[in-house]
Symmetry: C2
Subunit: 352 residues, 2 copies
């Protein structure tokens, strides 16, 4: 049995999209048991149409819904202990749930998650990992905006956590990992990336293959399973890619409606266009994973539709089923053991 | 008359693509006079097929061609004074040409340009400005990789230079300018972006409208005419967008060849697809502009085809014709005058 806490109040659409999304995920994974948090009147009105979900769930009535434009500090001030967002995170802390899923605003969700769950031992800062559709399938990119800036040790932490997540999500034994860099030779700066690369290579971890540096163009190509970068760059890259996809979608629609011939062509190729739309649909691949906290929190796109929210619940399900948290802990411990082992002879030889 | 120096040896294809590209630009702008730099045997073999270009050009035989994988330091060591790249930049320095165009490797071209032309008064660091296709037309994005990291003053310099370039390239009087940031509220860091935004707003320059912060998703949308960021982020964003366009192109090709119906549809809509391909073709919009040096250098994509190289020459032509250099100098002087004017009362009031 996998126990998932869901904040029904978040996102652009609230319970009327989230509840059917959860119901859809339950159809795929009947062994899930849900604890659902939300404002009673609004939620029960929708929930009563999903008897199977009601059967598999406990509903917890909350006093407050965090709004999509609450600042993190506001959300913490007003919503701590009593909002649906807080209480769904808290269910992970108390052990009543294995994972929490929310479509609420990212800043508030991260602030509450940090405050409630705290960072893991050996981890300075949490990261948000995005699942990135690529020509080869999917990759994981982190951090996409939990914090700004990262030193070498933080990039190494992101590497360990991302690799563990790839093993849990893609069910592969040895994912490949790259550090995002720019290809201009001999440009000064970004010593922290070079340093992180050196240390990761030295540690020769058995849990992933370190590929080296990758560039922005490698993201869509799917050159590696995990791309590691600091939050500002990761966030800009993610939004740039989403924006470029929308831009090309716009060009395509304009081109296909411009002439009669194009419209005839569109009619014949409609199946192909539907397939393309599905490929490009951000809702199909949904669920940012908060890593580095004492508990797993999944952030759904605020604008996700029913399928999108169900996909985010699926990600949470996979993370629990495949033991993400213990994988991260194991790898972090192994890394620090290896580092100490590497450090000792280095000191010995220099002092001899 | 506009005088353009061209390095015939750069790029993936060398003179056999660059020479026809230059010839094409000449057809559009017969008033250009070219000075062409390259290895004699290789270049003259191609040039002899373009009598009109020969007529409008002086060919200067050089001893060395900088290779596409030379490191900047190698290129400077071996190619200074005698490579086609160096000599085409030098023609701008000596005043024999108004602008230089090269498809050579970016690192070497920037290193040589800095060394030969030096940065302008009041400018610490040069920037590379890219022309970015958007849903609304085109925008300018800088820096896309000349240097890594930028403090508030450097971001302000980029802003002034980018706005001047927008006026020269788009021939608009008051372009809009935004600073690239991430939308997560209250995240610590990036004080330099906030500081730059504050100072730019305060200066209330008559040469552009300061829009405020923009995000990665605004790049493809074309929210502003000029997007300012430091080189690492700009480079990752540029390559991510190009990669995403290739990725979607890949999806589209796969979708359109999958079924008979799709292939029939493709046949009817071929004109529309050609239009789309043209929109997405990075060669149509080509020419990174080096800003902040005592002279203008245009960097063509290494992989540009004949049309692509001609487009890069066009950019150089527009920059000269519309007085880019004097626009930048004028705006920088105005900004520094305003800053001093703003600074004086501030000091007065605090000491009173």
């Amino acid at each position: 049995m996998i126990r998932i806490a869901v904040d029904l109040m978040g996102g652009d659409h609230g319970p009327k999209v989230i509840v059917p999304g959860v119901a859809k995920a339950l159809e795929r994974h009947p062994e899930i048991r849900f604890t659902l948090f939300g404002l009673e009147a609004e939620c029960l009105a929708v929930l009563k149409n999903f008897p199977a979900l009601l059967e598999a769930s406990t509903f917890v009535s909350c006093e407050i819904a965090v709004s999509m434009d609450d600042k993190p500090s506001q959300a913490l001030r007003h919503g701590r202990y009593r909002s649906s967002m807080w209480r769904s995170i808290e269910a992970v802390k108390t052990g009543d749930a294995d994972v929490c899923v929310s479509a609420g605003n990212t800043g508030a969700l991260m602030a509450m998650s940090r405050f409630c769950l705290r960072t893991m031992a050996n981890i300075d800062r949490p990261a948000i990992a995005a699942i990135w559709p690529t020509l080869r399938g999917e990759s994981i990119v982190l951090d996409v905006g939990a914090t700004i800036g990262a030193d070498a040790q933080q990039l190494i932490d992101f590497t360990m956590m991302g690799a563990a997540m790839a093993r849990a999500l893609f069910e592969i034994e040895k994912p490949t990992v790259g550090l995002l860099n720019i290809g201009v030779e001999e440009v000064k700066g970004m010593e922290e990336i070079k340093e992180a690369g050196r240390l990761i290579r030295e540690a020769a971890m058995p849990s992933f293959d370190y590929y080296g540096f990758v560039e922005g163009g490698d993201l869509g190509k799917g050159t590696v399973d995990v791309v590691v970068t600091e939050g500002f760059v990761g966030n800009v890259a993610l939004k740039t890619a989403e924006g470029t996809a929308r831009q090309i979608g716009g060009y395509l629609r304009a081109a296909m409606s411009r002439t009669l011939m194009a419209r005839i062509g569109y009619f014949f190729a409609k199946g192909a266009f539907d397939l393309l739309r599905e490929k490009m649909d951000p809702g199909k691949v949904n669920g940012g994973v908060f890593l580095g906290l004492n508990g797993i929190v999944i952030k759904s796109h605020g604008g996700a539709d029913i399928d999108g929210f169900a996909a985010a619940v699926d990600v949470g399900y996979d993370m629990v089923r495949n033991g993400l948290k213990s994988k991260i802990e194991h790898d972090l411990n192994l890394y620090h053991t290896r580092r100490s082992a590497l450090a000792v002879p280095a000191v010995d030889s220099s002092s001899s």
